[in-house]
């Protein structure tokens, strides 16, 4: 069991590293393509590695390890007979890191999901500005206008929810805080999530992360995929409203509002808000810097080639 967990961790690290380097050297800036690459980095250790155990159990034999494997745990001194050698200690640290990364994201996600359920809060009728923004974005995206659920709350709440039929949750506090242009950009952002069925993808990623909670590489790849999902929505919103500035300003205002509320909280929460604001600011900078890059088309054979190449490497990597 320990050896198999170690193998998925090693495979995850290898896949994530290759994807990271490829995205950099090939200058892949399109969020859509980056999502696919990060999903590949997640999927290989999650599904590919167990498939190798089933289809090629002889990979664990000494003959394969000594003759064919690129790297084998047995060559690295993994079986020195000690209960916790240096490699075992490293693996334990990686497992701790993976678990911490999973809990760091899963706990706030679940808490936010529970506390922001529309059924738990007073609802209001969408304003004309809000409805117009949603209708305009729906036309631009070629979809039906999803249901708008307006919560009476001073806190800025904005999210796309619903697995089968996505809908937009927005709070009155958010509508008051943003200018009409920023509100249009924010709604366009959430509409893009609805168009791409991102809530389904978000839950799928969370389930995958839960299955591989011990694997830091899978956790980081999933976080990168989530970031790219947000970037895709940012870029789509910028295209729809015709202004990157409105998207950036709305993002900064919303994250700043969350940050202000964090000043009254404890150090851990402030640190959490700090991370969140830094991530938002990075998105803003990326949006300002690379908006044009989304128009570049990735040659269709790169992803399958990478998948096959990585599959071969992982096949020859035995824990």
């Amino acid at each position: 069991m320990g050896r198999r967990a170690a193998e998925t961790i090693v495979h995850g690290i290898v896949a994530a590293f290759v994807v990271m380097v490829l995205l950099r050297v090939q200058r892949i800036h399109s969020p859509q393509d980056r999502i696919r690459f990060w999903l590949l980095a997640m999927g290989l250790p999650l599904a590919g590695t167990p498939l190798l155990w089933v289809l090629a159990p002889w990979r664990l034999d000494e003959g394969f390890r000594d003759g064919w494997a690129l790297v084998s745990g047995s060559h690295l001194g993994a079986n020195t007979g000690h209960v916790l050698g240096p490699l075992g200690a490293l693996m334990a640290l990686l497992v701790l890191a993976g678990t911490a990364l999973f809990l760091r994201d899963a706990i706030p996600f679940v808490l936010e999901f529970i506390t922001s359920r529309p059924a738990h809060q007073t609802s209001a009728t969408p304003s004309k500005v809000l409805s117009a923004a949603a209708d305009r974005a729906a036309v631009a995206l070629g979809m039906e206008t999803p249901r708008l659920s307006v919560l009476v709350s001073k806190h800025p709440i904005l999210m796309c929810r619903g697995l089968r039929k996505p809908f937009i949750v927005v709070s009155t506090g958010l509508c008051e805080m943003l200018s009409p242009g920023e509100l249009r950009a924010s709604i366009a952002h959430e509409m893009s999530h609805a168009k791409h069925r991102d809530p389904v993808l978000g839950w799928a990623l969370l389930v995958a992360r839960g299955l591989c909670f011990f694997n830091p590489a899978v956790q980081l790849a999933a976080r990168a995929a989530v970031l790219e999902i947000e970037r895709r929505a940012d870029q789509s919103a910028a295209r729809m409203v015709g202004s990157t500035r409105d998207v950036v300003d709305s993002l900064r205002k919303i994250s700043g509002a969350h940050g202000v509320s964090g000043h009254t909280a404890g150090g851990a929460k402030r640190m959490w808000q700090g991370f969140r604001m830094a991530a938002i600011e990075m998105r803003c900078q990326t949006l300002l810097r690379h908006e044009e890059a989304s128009s570049a088309n990735l040659p269709p054979w790169i992803l399958p080639t990478t998948a096959i190449g990585l599959g071969v490497i992982l096949f020859l990597t035995v824990a």
Binding site: V14, F17, V18, V21, L22, V25, Q26, R27, E62, G63, D66, G67, A69, L70, V71, S72, S74, H75, L76, G77, T80, G81, V139, A140, A238, R239, M240, V241, G242, S243, T244, R245, L288, R289, H290, E291, E292, A293, S294, S295, A296, N297, L298, P299, I302, T305, T306, G309, L310, I313, L316, T317
Partner: protein, 202 residues
């Protein structure tokens, strides 16, 4: 309708870095994409292989050789029995990290023991020659055949190391495999051990 980025007034006039380097051709040159993909994948494969090799080099264990914690583990791994010598060579104590095996291309085991300054290594292969990774070659200056028992002979080779010490190999056939003793002690002591081993592992 979506507004094309080209008409976006907020669009940067020039994006520094990668776009400029491509001289306006666009980033997707098939040749560039192909060789970078192959280079990254090959680089990762080489890095993994190097990590495997470096680890073995640091521990002094060549690829394909396994350090065992006990003779029992070595016997289980190779299926080769060392008989009573699994408990220790008479008068010698096993050295730490001195129990090594190979499983490919030949199953073989090497057990190193020490008595004072004298070292001796007992080697046994399942078939064919004892692998060089377990018994590095020695340039012999002297080679003779000596009788071990009735109808059984062994080849004794002697070699001088760079530090001036003399090492001797005593090797005899064991079915389709080989048994050997390598030591730096006296020749009569090596022959005495060889006779005991030959009798026990017959």
């Amino acid at each position: 309708m979506e507004r094309p980025l080209a008409h976006n007034p907020d669009r940067p006039r020039a994006i520094p870095g990668e776009w400029a380097r491509h001289g306006g051709r666009g980033p997707w040159d098939a040749g560039y994409a192909a060789w970078t993909t192959l280079a990254v994948l090959a680089g990762m494969a080489l890095a993994l292989r190097a990590g495997d090799a470096i680890s073995g080099w640091v521990r002094g264990v060549p690829r394909g050789v396994h350090l065992c914690t006990s003779v029992a583990e070595a016997e289980a791994r190779t299926g080769l029995s060392l008989g009573q010598f699994g408990q220790g060579l008479p008068g010698y104590a096993f050295t730490t990290g001195g129990i090594r095996t190979t499983t490919s291309p030949v199953r073989a085991v090497a057990v190193q023991a020490r008595a004072g300054q004298d070292q001796v290594t007992l080697l046994r292969s399942s078939d064919g020659e004892i692998p060089l990774v377990l018994r590095p070659p020695l340039p012999a200056f002297h080679e003779i055949t000596i009788p071990l028992a009735a109808g059984r002979t062994a080849t004794l080779r002697a070699a001088r190391q760079a530090d001036g010490s003399v090492w001797q190999d005593l090797e005899w056939p064991d079915g389709v495999g080989k048994i050997a003793l390598r030591g730096n002690g006296r020749t009569v002591e090596l022959i005495r051990l060889a006779k005991q081993v030959s009798e026990e592992l017959r």
